[in-house]
Amino acid sequence: MIQIDCPWCGPRSEIEFRCAGPHEKRPDPASASDVEWTDYLYFRDNTRGLLLEHWVHAFGCRQWIAVERDTVTNAIAGTTPVDAKSVSA
């Protein structure tokens, strides 16, 4: 079980959160080529190691947070608040 330090609520168990995955820059659908759009929709870096991703404190303060997590050990390097408008869930 991962313990995530919510910047608003303090340390909480992972079951209160939902992982929205790493932040990926969304290309403009109007101008993106088939290949670019496919890459955005389906292809993944699938990072092995330190990864910056978005989580939402779904059963808590409902705030979006950025979590830096090691995908091998699940050790969390840090959490910071994020602006919900910058998140593509």
């Binding site: 290949v35 292809f43 993944r44």
Partner: protein, 424 residues
């Protein structure tokens, strides 16, 4: 078509068992050699799990390509092949995947004999439970599709389930009341280690080099192609590289600059302490996202959902254990005082549509067999056949022709995750 017999140095048989029993079991031959890697091979298969070993076996047997190395970072069958719940089934929905998985079940049926190795395939049937009319309606649709595809499946009433699985909670007090389900009689379980070892022994007898403790560190590229595989045991030049590494597909393909539609997540499984025989089938519930069977040793073998985030840690989250056990106890409350004996996690390579990829990549001589997700064990014989066909001919066989990498761009997804309605 008659296949060449595998030239085993010594076959396993009742007579051999008796003979070795009389000499104190000391003189069994080694099952496979442990050769030093040669400088070059016609093809290198990365990943000594079920899929890699089966591919090597079929390449050697069916296509006469024996100048092959299977290289494995750890030990063979030590990844997901030895970390699953051993369920084999063919209860898929779409015509694009049904023949592939059905072929796999049929190959499994003859595998003990063919490999001269007891994989203990037990076709005990798989029963999937329904708890509301909507679920049962979807099951009826799924069963109809299976029957049209020639797969053994039929709906069960509540009374039939009560008779077939007496330990299942059929009371009106159950939190979710079982109202019916379906049975897939040709499904079952097999011994996972034996599948890896059986394929390894047969591939070795056909001349394939199985090289363990050999980690891929990178690729030397020349003219847009892989010239050699750089490993912890030296450089191996090769004409073709096939990647069959499951959880680390993105990492290995990434070393050649190939990007995949794969997300790696942990899937856990558990076994209980051994019990007297209480369950002679595989019991599944999509609602509880839990399934269970009983091993020959008497342990309850329990599987559930994968952890819902990227993870390469072969361990998994405790909350997933709690969820899975909760589901198990809602189906079978009498197991409440049974203790879990052990738990393990595997790194699964999930595609967006939960259908695998057996295809060429953007690097001309790199092929991938990936995206087996949480259900690769059942697919080992068929996956090995298809990848061997692709390596030997450059073309996909008819069973795997829809499992392309380009299907995502084309929108030709095969959404089995939703369609087959099982713990995937």
């Amino acid at each position: 078509m008659t296949r060449p017999k595998v030239p085993f140095s010594q076959r396993f048989s009742a007579a051999a068992l008796l003979r070795h029993g009389l000499s104190g079991q000391h003189n069994w031959p080694v099952m496979w050699r442990s050769p030093e890697p040669r400088k070059a091979y016609q093809a290198v298969i990365i990943g000594g799990g079920g899929h890699g070993l089966a591919t090597a076996y079929y390449l050697a047997r069916d296509w006469g390509i024996r100048d092959i190395a299977v290289i494995e970072k750890g030990w063979i069958g030590g990844g997901n092949t030895g970390r699953n719940t051993t369920v084999i089934r063919s209860n898929y929905y779409y015509p694009a995947s049904t023949p592939f998985y059905q072929r796999s079940v049929e190959l499994y049926e003859g595998l003990s004999d063919e490999l001269n190795y007891n994989i203990m395939f037990s076709q005990r049937g798989i029963i999937t439970l329904a708890f509301n009319p909507h679920e049962l309606n979807l099951m009826a649709r799924s069963v109809n599709a299976m029957q049209l595809n020639g797969i053994d499946a039929s709906l069960l009433t509540r009374d039939e389930i009560a008779r077939l699985v007496p330990i299942c909670d059929m009371s009106d007090q159950a939190r979710f009341r079982c109202i019916g389900g379906f049975i897939h009689p040709s499904g079952g379980t097999a011994r996972h280690d034996a599948v890896a070892w059986g394929y390894a022994r047969a591939a070795d007898a056909l001349g394939v080099d199985i090289i363990q403790q050999c980690e891929v560190l990178g690729f030397r590229m020349a003219g847009g192609k892989i010239a050699s595989v750089e490993t912890s045991r030296g450089s191996i030049a090769t004409e073709q590289v096939a990647v069959a590494v499951a959880g680390n597909s993105s990492v290995v393909a990434g070393m050649a600059g190939v990007r995949l539609p794969i997300q790696t997540q942990t899937l856990q499984a558990f076994v209980s302490e051994p019990l007297k025989p209480v369950l002679d089938t595989v019991l599944m519930s999509g609602l509880h996202h839990t399934y269970v069977s009983q091993s020959d040793k008497g342990e309850m073998v329990i599987g559930g959902d994968s952890d819902a985030y990227i993870s390469y840690g072969q361990r998994g989250s405790f909350s997933t254990i709690e969820n899975t056990v909760t589901g198990l106890l809602e189906m079978i409350p009498l197991l409440s005082r049974v203790r879990l004996l052990r738990q393990w996690g595997g790194a699964c390579d999930l595609t967006p549509d939960r259908t695998p990829i057996i295809d060429r990549t953007t690097v001309e001589n790199m092929l991938v067999s990936t995206g087996w997700g949480t259900g690769g064990f059942k697919a080992i014989p068929s996956g090995g056949k298809s990848l061997a066909h692709l390596i030997a001919t450059g073309e996909a066989d008819r069973f795997s022709q829809a499992f392309t990498l380009d299907r995502f761009r084309q929108g030709k997804l095969i959404d089995e995750g939703a369609a087959s309605g099982v713990a995937h």
